[in-house]
Amino acid sequence: MREVDVALITETVKELCISANTDLGEDVIEAIDQAIEKEESPLGIDILNELKENAQIAKQEKVPICQDTGFAVVFVELGQDIHLVGGDLSEAIHEGVRQGYREGYLRKSLCHPFTRANTGDNTPAIIHMELVPGDKIKIVVAPKGGGSENMSRVTMLTPSEGVEGVKRYIVQRVKESGSNPCPPTIIGVGIGGTLEKAAFLAKKSLLRPLGSKNPDPELMKLEQEILSEINKLGIGPQGLGGRTTSLAVHILMMPCHIASLPLAVNIQCHAQRHKEAII
C-alpha cells in the first residue's frame, strides 16, 4: 500500500490556490478569442479584449485575475489503495488553503453568516471527497466567486415539465441574472439525483475544459440548444448588450426519484479558474 504524507497535500493545495487565481486556463482564453470573432457589439469586443489583457497581466505579474479570489472549492479523488500518514486529511487541505491565501496575497472572503465577521484566513474550504480505485490522489482547486454564485439556483421541477421545462428554467435564470454574474458566463447544470446531488453535479460540470464536448450525445445536443437560446438574449459581455452572454453550457445528469426532476444551475463568471494536480 502506498503511503502519502498529508504534508504533501497541504503543499499541493497551497500551490493550486495560487496558480488557479493568477493563471487563467488556455481553454478560457481560446473561448474568449472565438467570442471576439462572433461578437457584433463594439463595446462588447472592447470588454472581451480587456479580459484577455487582464489575464495576461495577472499571469505575468502573478497577481489575482479578479479581486474575488473566492471560496476555495476542493475536489479530491482519493485512490483507495493509499494510506495517508502524518495527520488529518481535511485539516491538511484547510491548511493548504490558509497558506495559499496568505502567501499568494489572495483576498480572504469568508465570514460568519450573521455577524459578517471575517474568518481571517479563507477557511474553511469546501471539500468534495470521492474514493476511487488506484493509488493516486487527484486534487482540483476551483475558487468560486460570490457574484456569480449568488445568481445560481436549485429547483425541483415537476416531471411533467420535462426537458422543455429544464431549458426554459435555465434560459430564464440567465436572463434574470443579467449583468450581475460578470458575463460572458459558463453555465453549469446538474439534472437529477437529489437536491444536494443536483447542485454538486452543476458545480462539477464546470470543471470540464471549455471547448470540449459532452461525451453523452443527448446532453451535447441539449447544451448546444440551450447555449444558442442564451446567446439570443442580447445581454452580452458585462451585460452591455451583445451576442456573447455565455461561453458554454455544461451538463451532468443522473437518474432521479420517480416523483421529481431536480435541476441546479450554477453560474460561473468568465474567470473560470481551476487547477489540478495528481499525487
Binding site: N54, I65, Q67, L106, R107, K108, T155, S179, Q238
Partner: protein, 195 residues
C-alpha cells in the same frame, strides 16, 4: 468610436448632466472605496444624524474589496463587486451629495430615481478585470473602518480608471437598452413553476 470623456472629482451637477449611457469615461484624481459592510455603517451614521468619515459632496464611491497588495504593488487586484447589495443604502448617500458610483450589475428603481432627482450617475467597471484595474491606482490609504479588512473605506488616487456610464441623470439604463438592441429571441414567458 467616441473618444472617452475625462472626469476629475469632485463632480458638479453640470459634470454629470452631460454624461449619457454608453459613454466611456476615464476618471483621474480621488475616489473612495466602499462595499457591503461599509455602506451599512455609513447608512447607520446618517440615520443617527452623525457625521460621516469623509465628505460625500461631489464624490465617487467604487464598490470594491481589493486583494491584499503584494510587496512592491500599490494596490491589489481591484475589480468591481455586484452593486445591487448597496441598493438599500445608496439613495440616502446620493441625497447627501454623492455624485457617482462604480460597480457592476443592475440597480433598483429606487436608486435610479434618486440618481435622476439628485443628479448622480452609475458607472460600470469591467467585472473580473481586477489585475488591469489595479494598475490605474496610484495611491491608496484607509480612511475608515480598518477592522473591515478588504471592506474598509479607502481613499484612492487613480489615473485614467476606465468606466462606462450605465445610468445617467436622464433616466436611461444601458443594461436595458443594450439588451434590447442585441436581443434576437422573442420575450419568453416568465417561468411559471416553483422556485
Amino acid at each position: 468610436m467616441k473618444r472617452p470623456i475625462r472626469l476629475r472629482p469632485p463632480l458638479s451637477d453640470e459634470d454629470v448632466e452631460r454624461l449619457k449611457i454608453g459613454d466611456r469615461v476615464l476618471i483621474s484624481g480621488i475616489i473612495y472605496t466602499g462595499r457591503d459592510a461599509a455602506h451599512k455603517r455609513l447608512f447607520d451614521l446618517l440615520k443617527e444624524g452623525k457625521e460621516l468619515p469623509f465628505d460625500l459632496k461631489g464624490q465617487i464611491i467604487y464598490y470594491v474589496g481589493p486583494t491584499p497588495a503584494k510587496p512592491g504593488q500599490v494596490f491589489g487586484s481591484a475589480g468591481p463587486t455586484t452593486s445591487y447589495r448597496m441598493d438599500a443604502y445608496s439613495p440616502a448617500l446620493i441625497e447627501k451629495g454623492l455624485k457617482g458610483m462604480i460597480g457592476k450589475g443592475m440597480r433598483s428603481d429606487a436608486v435610479k430615481e434618486a440618481m435622476k432627482r439628485f443628479k448622480a450617475v452609475y458607472f460600470a467597471a469591467t467585472g473580473g478585470a481586477g489585475a488591469l484595474l489595479a494598475k490605474r491606482v496610484k495611491k491608496a490609504e484607509v480612511v475608515a473602518y480598518e477592522d473591515l479588512g478588504p471592506e474598509a473605506i479607502r481613499r484612492l488616487e487613480v489615473e485614467d480608471l476606465p468606466v462606462i456610464v450605465i445610468n445617467d441623470v436622464h433616466g436611461n439604463d444601458l443594461y436595458i437598452e443594450g439588451e434590447k438592441k442585441y436581443r434576437t429571441s422573442p420575450q419568453s414567458p416568465p417561468y411559471q413553476g416553483g422556485d
